[in-house]
Symmetry: C3
Subunit: 335 residues, 3 copies
Amino acid sequence: MKPQAFLAPQDMSLAETRDLLAVARNLQKNPLRRDLAGKTIGMIFFNPSLRTRTSFDVAMNHLGGHAVILNVGGEGTWTLEYREDIIMDGDKSEHIKEAAQVLSRYVDAIAIRAFSAGTSWEEDRREQIHRAFAAYATVPVINMESQLHHPCQSLADIKTIEDRIGDPAGQPLLVTWGWHPNPLAMAVPNSIVMEAAKFGMEVRLAHPPGWELDSAVIETAGTLAEGAGGSLRIYNNFEEALPGARAVYAKSWGSITHYGDPQQQRAAAAPYRDKWRVTLEHMERTDNAFFLHCLPIRRGIEADAAVLDAPCSAVYDEAENRLHVQKAVLLRMLA
Amino acid sequence: MKPQAFLAPQDMSLAETRDLLAVARNLQKNPLRRDLAGKTIGMIFFNPSLRTRTSFDVAMNHLGGHAVILNVGGEGTWTLEYREDIIMDGDKSEHIKEAAQVLSRYVDAIAIRAFSAGTSWEEDRREQIHRAFAAYATVPVINMESQLHHPCQSLADIKTIEDRIGDPAGQPLLVTWGWHPNPLAMAVPNSIVMEAAKFGMEVRLAHPPGWELDSAVIETAGTLAEGAGGSLRIYNNFEEALPGARAVYAKSWGSITHYGDPQQQRAAAAPYRDKWRVTLEHMERTDNAFFLHCLPIRRGIEADAAVLDAPCSAVYDEAENRLHVQKAVLLRMLA
Amino acid sequence: MKPQAFLAPQDMSLAETRDLLAVARNLQKNPLRRDLAGKTIGMIFFNPSLRTRTSFDVAMNHLGGHAVILNVGGEGTWTLEYREDIIMDGDKSEHIKEAAQVLSRYVDAIAIRAFSAGTSWEEDRREQIHRAFAAYATVPVINMESQLHHPCQSLADIKTIEDRIGDPAGQPLLVTWGWHPNPLAMAVPNSIVMEAAKFGMEVRLAHPPGWELDSAVIETAGTLAEGAGGSLRIYNNFEEALPGARAVYAKSWGSITHYGDPQQQRAAAAPYRDKWRVTLEHMERTDNAFFLHCLPIRRGIEADAAVLDAPCSAVYDEAENRLHVQKAVLLRMLA
């Protein structure tokens, strides 16, 4: 029997997610446990991390367990190949087929961060590093952000939303693109749209033309929203989506249209600088909404510093919730 | 109420320091405790470390706690901005305002190493990375070496001095500059001069003309020395300061005059090579002094290998004392 | 009295090794202990690692202890000098003489990985980094792979052999070179040849002319084999050594003849590509042998993917055994 993998918000049903949030809230009140004594999680990073690395490491410690951290390439561990049936005479030292099976002998779960944008969205949307680990590992696999999803982030997001405004069902959430000097990963917007849809929110997704999210994500989110009595509507002007919004989630992401061409991407995005940046004045046009962002955020770029420093900002609670929900995920998958 | 920060020797009074050293000596005899069970320190490194990284990590473990280590930039965590009110369209991914507040939700104290010399001493002497963390963190902040101070080192130094010669008050300590191929940070000499002054030692500070320490440091140290019945005198020839010295502390540092220009610095320092290097013959001209250095040291450069290998060398005890005093600091700030 | 060092298979007698394997098997059944509570191992990496890093870290945690990981150079700790009596005006920041003595004050054992091939085998075969740590440390030193040996790997290998075919004495083991795009370290073949000889196996070592192992290693292994009632025979065609083999250990290594000249090495090795690669057809010509490799392995290069994925492959058990034998080593040296 293949062990569990937690790779995307839709890997957990609404009921399961609600149960998990209840556990997370309990852990927030009583943080120290010993359920995972003698257990280890292997955390594999292909990309940098502050919140994820710290919160998972602290989470394991709070539960009596231990985290081993592996940075792929450079000073850490070997470069890893994911392609099937390849003659490995290139620059990769080890295949994930081996790495996943070996690590499964040492640790009780494997968590992976790998979100770097390559040259082809068709390639990247397949999350091949995560999928290879999930296929070959014999222990649970947790997504700490892939090219496609960041499900621990969206669990923290939905907990923050519930903590602020109660039952999310039917409540308007604006998820808005923001201008940024670099094309960023799409995992965070994909996951929050999916999660909010699952909870039956009235999801308002705003971005300029050309910054559409992956069509399969939108389709699944639409279906989820419908099933939960919510909705998903797309805006090409985020200011139109402000009135009535109870929460504003800002996040920049790269364009699929210009994927793999950062210069072209920057040129195409240039007209949106300053226009697609959340200000206090925008927040005032909502229904007393609070502000969300997964962090890291660039002050004065995706949102004004004044927004981040205002009482309406929930970004530190949102970051803290990473700890609580991940402890619940770890208990669910390892205890 | 703002939590404690330990950024410089003068952040702790003489009485507090004495108390802390007593705790450190007790921990040296009985190293294992559980006071910090379930507690975590976040250690943020902008620069390399051997002693600091290992001794803090072991210290937390000995006290029942846990250390999370974050290397800023590269394979570790995001590059961090410290400037207030800046539009972040440059090369920094996250502001310390966020990093400090987020980490404060995960860990029980934040320790920071950032001593890299930039281009301007006026800028660097403001220790802006440390000050930003201290301003925004909601948990205690510990200095693991800034551009200006290394207070955990000077605690280990003063403990080593007490262990070797008893009450430091009135005892002559020579702190001498040494030649080195690279301009190094000034934190260690600044802190030991301050700490020794606080304990009323007869501080002899020796360096070639042009290698003066920061004038505010010298002024504060002079005031501290005077208040404690000690003294601070500056020599431009360290050999004059040898007679009567009970301890010789060698340490190279960069020149403020040539700050930010390593080539000019090297040219100006060239005449001092071999002349400003502690030898056994120098040690014999003291009052049976022992030898101190914070390490890492370059053998044959700041001191002869023979000095390091002689019984007069206290450098390994001094390094060991980092562990004991830091455990006392951690108990003081976290327990 | 100088503490123990475990640098090579011959540092442990056959009887001691048998005892250790018995402890390892017991730990495999009952993995969690508290013998090393409050104890720390310092792991120093000059080279990347996946199995070694993870298995030692997990091993310490399973035994109640703690591992501190130091990457030398780069973002981690200082660059280290090993040469005696040198004036350190080059690119190294600290001497191992200091690093080893300081770490000995913080941790209860030091483990070192440093296998990078330099320009001279005469230099590298002296394992000077390991030897310097062993000379200066005042705590036990464990070899996590040097230029010459990887004794924790060969312990895992011999356990795997015993687990599969019982008493190794008199059983034919083929250790065969494989083609690889890069010249790799010789530590693994050196150590398994030595270990297998110690256990009295019929060791068949196969490689093309010019890929001879170090002559001192071969000589010692021959003596060990003779003393244990086994044998060591060298083949220049691995296919001749297949009949009767009970285990096939594939591993590429660099040529001493072309040492320090990767391009010349590649040219000399080119004719052996595909010929020196283990296939299922080769495995069928043995006496139902199982397949060993220390990993990382390049699929389709040192062996066919089909071999790694076949029931005859023991590579994951072999990797798992790293954990069990290292726990036994740690208990032996630290408890």
